[in-house]
């Protein structure tokens, strides 16, 4: 059940995670988190989505028939790649039926989120990668299937993100910064978005289209009409579609710009938190 839903607007945009280290910006975020708690969004463990410079996901190949060896291999590769920075990262591995992924997050950034939570007087933080949160939002919302390809499109003011799933499994992600400072989906932005989507979908045997395109933000929904041809169906990703809702949460959700799809990352993080509990 969706028991509470709230959104707090910050006075300005924040560059995360870099500005977590700034006293003033972290205080602003802490105040926002306290505001959320006051609005009824309270939990034992808040989850944060990682992206940007704080973390990375690298795709590698699997060692056949051995999850343990694949894990060791992926971590060994990560150690070689990170060299002396190895100890500065927290690492884990994701294995699908086709690929192995090394997931890394800077220890320093995780600790800064810990400081933020202490400052906001909320629980100890948990973490997930933003693309995984989007996949989990699709899964938690009941829209995921084990066949065909799914493309999740999430657009924001400063950057865009596309996540490709194949047969129900995470396969790839593309993230980019917009080249202009517009707040609208201009023709240039649409072109850039299409180029990244085509890049993800290109299997080397000619560009294909996805079976389903999911729009996971208000801006993505605005751009949906321009994505024709990239997917056989284009729909908003509503992570709460199959969920019963308390009246207050339902009202709050309806008043939010973009509705449920705009909260796809938050919902994916929450679903993950529920799975961990």
């Amino acid at each position: 059940m969706l028991s509470a839903c709230a959104r707090v607007s910050l006075p300005g945009s924040l560059q995360l995670p870099e500005q977590l280290a700034e006293d003033e910006e972290r205080s602003t975020l802490a105040a926002a988190l306290r505001q959320l708690a006051a609005a009824g969004v309270e939990c034992q463990r808040p989850y944060f989505g990682l992206g940007g410079t704080s973390s990375f996901v690298k795709r590698r190949f699997l060692v056949p028939d051995s999850r343990a060896e694949t894990r060791d291999q992926l971590l060994w590769e990560a150690r070689q790649a990170l060299e002396e920075d190895y100890d500065d990262f927290v690492l884990d591995v994701l294995q699908t039926s086709r690929y192995g992924f090394v997931v890394a997050a800077r220890r320093e950034v995780l600790e800064l989120y810990g400081v933020l939570c202490r400052q906001a007087k909320i629980g100890k933080p948990g973490f997930d990668m933003i693309p995984f949160a989007l996949v989990n939002a699709l899964e938690g919302g009941g829209a995921a299937t084990d066949e065909g390809s799914d493309l999740i499109v999430q657009l924001a003011d400063t950057q865009g993100r596309v996540v490709l799933m194949r047969d129900g499994e995470f396969e790839a992600e593309a993230v980019w910064e917009w080249e202009d400072e517009s707040t609208l989906m201009t023709a240039d932005r649409i072109d850039l978005l299409r180029s990244y989507v085509e890049g993800l979908l290109d299997t080397g045997q000619g560009t294909e289209s996805a079976d389903r395109v999911w729009l996971a933000s208000a801006a993505a929904q605005d751009a949906g009409e321009h994505l024709a041809g990239l997917g056989r169906s284009i729909s908003p990703l509503d992570p709460f579609a199959r969920m019963s809702r308390r009246t207050r949460a339902d009202e709050a959700l309806e008043q939010m710009p973009g509705g449920g799809p705009a909260l796809a990352v938050a919902a994916g993080l929450a679903f993950r938190g529920l799975a961990d509990a």
Binding site: A21, D23, R26, S27, L50, S55, R67, D72, E84, D87, D88, V90, L91, D92, V93, L94, V103, A105, R107, E108, L110, E111, L112, V115, Q119, G126, F127, D128, M129, F132, V135, N136, E139, G140, A144, T145, D146, G168, E169, F170, F271, R272, A275, D276
Partner: protein, 304 residues
Amino acid sequence: MAMIRVELESERRRLPLYLAISGIAAIVVAVVLYGIDRQVGLLRIVDLQQLRNLYVQDQVDTNQRPGATIREEPSAAAVVVDSPSSVGMTQAAIVTPSPLPVVGTAGTPSSVAVPISWWKSAQRLRQRLSSKITVTRQQNLADGTFQITGRAEAEHHESLRQDVAALRSQGLRPTLTFWREGGEAAVATFIVSGQAGSDAPQRPPLRASMPVDALLQLAQGHARAAGLVRMASTRPTHEQVSAGNTRVEQGMSAVGNPRQIAMFGTALAAESQARLTRFDIAAVERGLFRVTASIDVLLGKENR
């Protein structure tokens, strides 16, 4: 399809089993060393005269509270620490950390050396847990909370529960949590956490001003003196605690053997220019551990 669940938390960092086993063996050795150190000052045995003095001190209760005469300062004067050559470490050159420029009044008078021991709580309490479990990480915070993370085979879960119940009967309010990582792991991970009490100073030392890297240099100086290597640092964090007063906290981590880590902890705990706020140990390689410690000061105008 299943939900993606990667673990990106440092305390759940998984280690190969052989590392964890060697890690626990080294921790046990470290704990034994701590115990011996508390009795005879093992880390300060440098010459006969000092040994004789320490032998006399052995008659004194080392658990005395502030104001007692026991000194547990990091004796950097002549301690020589051998580092394992297998990992490329060389014999540590002892460098006495340069002091912070004193421009304010320190919260703890430097003339009184008090044996602060909260940072060893997890190590101490681990000894009261079954020797058949594998401990991968021990964490201590200055507020007295501790956390012991490890893995335990199913047949040892009951004895672990009994050990934790025994700790509870002693008023430590421990909690025991089990979980299985990835759904396939045969060995469950556990965390024992609780409150062991703390003898840490209530406030960090107060300073009117401080160079940007002073805290880091202070901590790194002690780390080098102890022979630790592979140092990493976090950005200092700033927290406004009251008007005109900001708490600055600096974290760092480094790798070393149990003896070096014990020296490092002893030095930081006895440091009068900053307050130790966190002390964690995690097994990283055969016989080696990564220690992560944080220290803080209060930057401000008033000393109230």
